[in-house]
Amino acid sequence: MTTEPATQVTSRGEPITEASALDGSKGESALVVEHLTKHFGERVAFDDVSFEVGYGEVFGFLGPNGAGKTTTVRTLGTLLAPTSGSATVAGIELRPENGSAIRSRISIMPESPGLYLRLTVRENLECFAGLYELDDVRARIERALRAINLEDRAGDQCGSLSKGLRQRVALARALLNDPAVLFLDEPTSGLDPVASREVHGLIASLRERGVTIFLTTHRLEEAERLCHRVAILNTTLRLIGRPDELRDQLFSRSLDVRVRSPLEDPTAVLGGLPGVKGWAHAPSGYTLAVSDPEIAAPQVARALVGAGVDILSIAESRHSLEDVYLELIDEDVEARRR
C-alpha cells in the first residue's frame, strides 16, 4: 500500500463551524499551538507541535504510550513550562504570569481520577468549587452531579466507588467551572466496556452542548466516534484532520469482491474496466483498487455477470482509523530501526 510523504502535516485544519460555542468567543480559536516543544533534560517529550482547535470542537489527540500526550496536556494546562514554541489557551497567551488566569478558564481530567478517597463525592466537589471561587456552590454541584447521573451517591466516600464511578466523579469535578476548554486525558483507560460506553455517552452529550474538548486516547474507535478532528502524535505531530479525510489520505479506495468460483482470466474481465485501477487476489475473490467505488461497483457487477460468474458480494472496503494509526506508527518503528 502506498503512503504519500505528505503526511508530515503542519497545516492547521479548519475549525468546525457547525457546533455552537458556549461562551461568546466564537470566531477565534480555543487553542492555538505553534511549534510547541518540551524536553525533559535530554529526553524529548514532544517536538515542534502545531495545531489549532476551534470553540465547540471535539479534538482527538492520538498516540502510542510515551508519545507525549499527557505532557502536551500538562504544558497547555500551565503545569509544565514549554521548552520552546508558543500557544494561546482559551484566548490567553501561554506565559508563566498568565497561569492562574488560564487555569481558571480551563479544566483537565487527568489520567487517574485523583479523588480524595476518604472524602465523600460532595466533599470532593466542594473543595474544588472553593478552589475555583465559584458562587452558588450547592446548585453547581447538583448540576455537575446530574450531568454524570450520580446524584444518589453524593454522600458516599469516594474510596467505596468503582473505578468507573470515580472516573465520572472526576468528570463532574472538571465540569464545575464551566471550562472554555475541557482536557480529557484518556478518560476511559482501564474501564470495562460498559463503563467506557457510559463515559462516551457523557462526552457525546457534552459535544451536543458545544463544549470544547481536547481528548487524548489511544483507543481509535473512541476517537472515531467522538471527535470532529483528530491528530496523531508520536513525539512529532504526524497527521491531522477529520477521521474520514485521514483514511482517504493514507489509503487508496478499494472494492472487495467475493465470487462463488474464481475467474478463469481475471485480467481480461477486470483489467479493462475504466473505473478499476488494479486488482489483486483475495480470499474467495478479489480486491480492486478504484478511484470512485460508486462508479466502479456497477461496472464490476456487469462485467462479472457477463463473464458468467456468481457474485456473492461487492462492497467498498472501509479502512478504520485504526488502520491509519497502525500504518503511521509502524512507519515510525521501521524508520527508527533503519
Binding site: 503545569l79 478552589l131 471561587e133
Partner: protein, 244 residues
C-alpha cells in the same frame, strides 16, 4: 488575581476532613500527647515531693519542656505527608490545575497542620495546669504558676510548630516517597529536641533572656523558611518530583 482565602480555606477544610478519617493521623494525634502529658504529671505528683524547694523551680520548668515535644514533633509527621503523599495518590495534579497559587497552597497546607497541633498542644497544657492547680502539692503548684513558665510554654508552642511544619513540607516537596519523607522530617526536628533535652537535663541553664532570644531566633527562622519553601513550590517540581 490576588491571594484568595477562599482557596486556602477549601484546601485546609479538605485536609482537616481527611485527617479526621485517617487512622494513622488520629493515632499520632492521641498517642503522642498522652505520652508527653503522663511523664510530667508523674514528675509533678510523685518525684518532686522529695525535691528541695530551692531546686523546685528548675525541675518544674524541665518537666514542662516535655510537653513542647508535641508541637515540635507532631506537625512534622503531618506535613511530611502533605506533598509527596498527595503526589503518590494522584490527588496533587487535580489541585494544581485549578487557579490556586503556590503561596495559597503552601499556607493552606501549613494551617492544616498548625491548627490541630496548636489545639492539641494547648489542650494538653491546659489539662496539665488544671491537674496541678487542683491536685498538686501547693508548693509545687505555685512553682508552676509563678515565674515565666506558663508564658514561655504558650510562646514556644506555635514557634516550634512552625519549625516542624516548614521542615516537613520542605522535605515532602523534594521527596519521592512518603516513608523517607517522614523519616527525614523527623530528623529535621531533632536539633530542636536536642536543645529541649539539654535544657531539661540542666546542661543549658535557661534564663528569661535566653528564652526570649531563642524565641526571636525561632521566629526569624520560621519567617525565612516560609520564603524558602514557597520558592520550592514550583508546579513542575511538585508534579514530577524533580526540578525543571
Amino acid at each position: 488575581m490576588s491571594f484568595s482565602w477562599t482557596r486556602v480555606r477549601a484546601i485546609a477544610v479538605k485536609e482537616l476532613r481527611d485527617y479526621r478519617r485517617n487512622r494513622f493521623v488520629i493515632g499520632t494525634m492521641t498517642v503522642l500527647p498522652l505520652l508527653f502529658i503522663i511523664l510530667p504529671l508523674i514528675q509533678v505528683f510523685h518525684t518532686y515531693a522529695h525535691v528541695h524547694s530551692s531546686n523546685l523551680n528548675l525541675h518544674v520548668g524541665a518537666s514542662m519542656l516535655y510537653m513542647l515535644v508535641i508541637p515540635a514533633f507532631m506537625p512534622s509527621t503531618l506535613s511530611a505527608y502533605s506533598v509527596v503523599g498527595e503526589r503518590e495518590q494522584g490527588t496533587l495534579e487535580p489541585v494544581l490545575i485549578t487557579p490556586i497559587r503556590r503561596e495559597e497552597l503552601l499556607i493552606a497546607k501549613a494551617l492544616a497542620a498548625f491548627v490541630p497541633t496548636l489545639g492539641i498542644a494547648y489542650l494538653v497544657f491546659g489539662i496539665f495546669l488544671a491537674a496541678a492547680a487542683f491536685f498538686a502539692n501547693p508548693v509545687i503548684a505555685s512553682a508552676i504558676f509563678s515565674g515565666t513558665h506558663v508564658l514561655l510554654q504558650l510562646l514556644f508552642t506555635p514557634l516550634l510548630a512552625g519549625w516542624g511544619i516548614w521542615v516537613g513540607i520542605a522535605v515532602s516537596a523534594r521527596s519521592t516517597d512518603v516513608r523517607s519523607a517522614q523519616q527525614l522530617s523527623v530528623l529535621g526536628t531533632l536539633p530542636l529536641l536536642a536543645i529541649l533535652a539539654l535544657i531539661s537535663l540542666n546542661v543549658i541553664a535557661v534564663s528569661a533572656g535566653l528564652a526570649v532570644g531563642l524565641a526571636a531566633v525561632l521566629l526569624a527562622i520560621d519567617l525565612l523558611a516560609w520564603r524558602a519553601v514557597a520558592a520550592m513550590f514550583d508546579r513542575e517540581r511538585l508534579i514530577t518530583g524533580r526540578s525543571a
